[in-house]
Amino acid sequence: MKVRGRVALSGGGVAALVLLAGFALLPLAQQPFVTRIGTGIFILALATISLNLLVGYGGLVSFGHAAYFGAGAYAVAILSHYGTHRGWIAFAAAVGGSALLALILGAASLRVRGVFFIMITLAFAQMLYHLSTAVEKLGGDDGLRVVPNSFGPLFLGERITLYYVSLGLLCAGLVISDRLVASHFGRVLVGIRDNERRMRSLGYNPYHYRLLAFVIAGALAGLAGALEANLDAYASPELLHWSISGDLLVMLVLGGSGSIVGPLFGAVSFQLVQQVLSGFTSHWMLYFGPALVLIVFVSRRGVAGLFAGTRPHHVRGGR
């Protein structure tokens, strides 16, 4: 890995390729349980990739990413509820709807910085959570059933099909975030993260770049949400719950925020830890919580520093 976590196909990049190749072969084991877990990991990794654009490269600590994830799922569910199961339409609605939502909420949230940004993103996501439980047409607390989407002959209700579609979209997400970060837009975003005042004096308006990053991240999270709705055959308020936002942040930082492949490793390790711990005890959070605190303590540069090793700088938490 090189400066700013770019994949130079060394270290992390190679490990990611090996991991993805392993995932591609995994269904050969013919274990339904394993394919389900795998699909869940791909979806969460995709959502974490989108959060990485904000936290890792934009320096924007959003604690409301469940909003866009859940909105994507609900877009699919609402269309399904009214009888539209065509994949292109449902996924376009999920991506477009989440992007629009991110535009609106981002425009308001980005007016403040630091702890206020964290609180406001959390509050807006909670608003959607309450809204989903209060609206009867959305099924209230129970949520909505989803008939899985079809893309021509590809039916996402088929376990293996959904597995490979999710894996494919995860790979696409990795490539997109890699190109985006290295693009003209991406380096302005990173520049604003590193030195906002300097970027202003060069002629950049930080608000525009941050808002656009917010919209792109929202769209990607919406895509992940659409997949989740197909996996669960359901969209429920749980997908909008603040704890999802927290989990996504934990995965991001465990894997290494501000690194392209970090979200993949974060999602995989978080799910593995969760599966292993919950094999021993139903109260796995009793151990994971303090572990998280310890990890933050042990690494002076934050959790990202612990895992990312040689990167010349780490993401700042928006102080």
Partner: protein
């Protein structure tokens, strides 16, 4: 090039700039000097747009920029070098300058690698060459020395071809040899760009400036060519009266 009229800036009850007029002609190096707390840095910040003026107007190349935000003023042709070094530490020197060049073009491009943008890189290389930093093009800015940072900042400002360059103490913390090189560089730059220079070092001021504006307690007390300012009774009184470090330097040039 720059025309400032009746500019005032207060912080609570403290008046930092009061009714200041300032004119900078094309190709001119205009120095602003004054004792500590005279309001020099505030003036630069108000002109650059980091602070909003309480009263007065600022015209850049005939256009009113008084209420424009910083980034719009930068796009209108204001280049900037901060008092405290301000670069992008996680980018290479070349990338720093390329990002500065990119500010004038389209940045909403999402797919092609910006590093492979030949046009931007070429302009950045030329600018680096101009400040004598070509050999460090691929060094990380965060790992460069202080003198090199100052050069890099000038390269970043120059690449956008500004019509006015705001320099806040460009030679501070520089070794003697480095500042001599920098002074030479500024002199060449001034052939194409007007420069507003805030500086403590009187050697630099008197060897570079075409005209000097003197501030004291937020007010303009003098403005003129170096010999005029040197001869000004009020200026001498302010500097000698304050017992400031600048007084000997002032006398030396008198």
């Amino acid at each position: 090039m720059l025309r400032v009229r009746g500019l005032s800036k207060r912080f609570g009850g403290f008046v930092s700039n009061a009714d200041i007029d300032l004119d900078i002609e094309p190709g001119e190096i205009h120095a602003v000097i004054g004792p500590n707390g005279a309001g020099k840095t505030t003036l630069v910040n108000v002109i650059a747009g980091d602070l909003r003026a309480d009263a007065g107007e600022i015209l850049l190349d005939g256009h009113d920029v008084t209420t424009l935000p910083t980034h719009r003023r930068a796009r209108a042709g204001m280049g900037r070098m901060f008092q405290i070094t301000s670069v992008l530490p996680s980018f290479t020197a070349l990338e720093n300058v390329a990002i500065a060049a990119q500010a004038r073009g389209r940045s909403f491009r999402f797919w092609h690698r910006a590093n492979a943008d030949r046009d931007l890189n070429q302009r950045a290389e030329m600018s680096l060459a101009r400040v004598g930093l070509s050999h460090q093009a691929s060094a990380l800015a965060g790992e460069m020395g202080h003198g090199e940072h100052r050069q890099l900042e000038i390269a970043m400002a120059l690449v956008a071809e500004p019509c006015l360059l705001l320099l806040d103490e460009p030679t501070s913390g520089m070794s003697g040899a480095d500042s001599v090189a920098l002074i030479d560089l500024l002199r060449t730059i001034s052939e194409t760009t007007a420069i507003l220079l805030v500086e403590h070092d009187m050697d630099v001021v008197f060897s570079l400036a075409d005209r000097i504006t003197v501030l004291a307690s937020g007010r303009r007390i003098a403005c003129g060519t170096p010999p005029e300012v040197r001869a000004d009774a009020l200026v001498q009184q302010v500097y000698l009266g304050a017992g400031a470090t600048a007084a000997p330097a002032m006398a030396e040039h008198a």
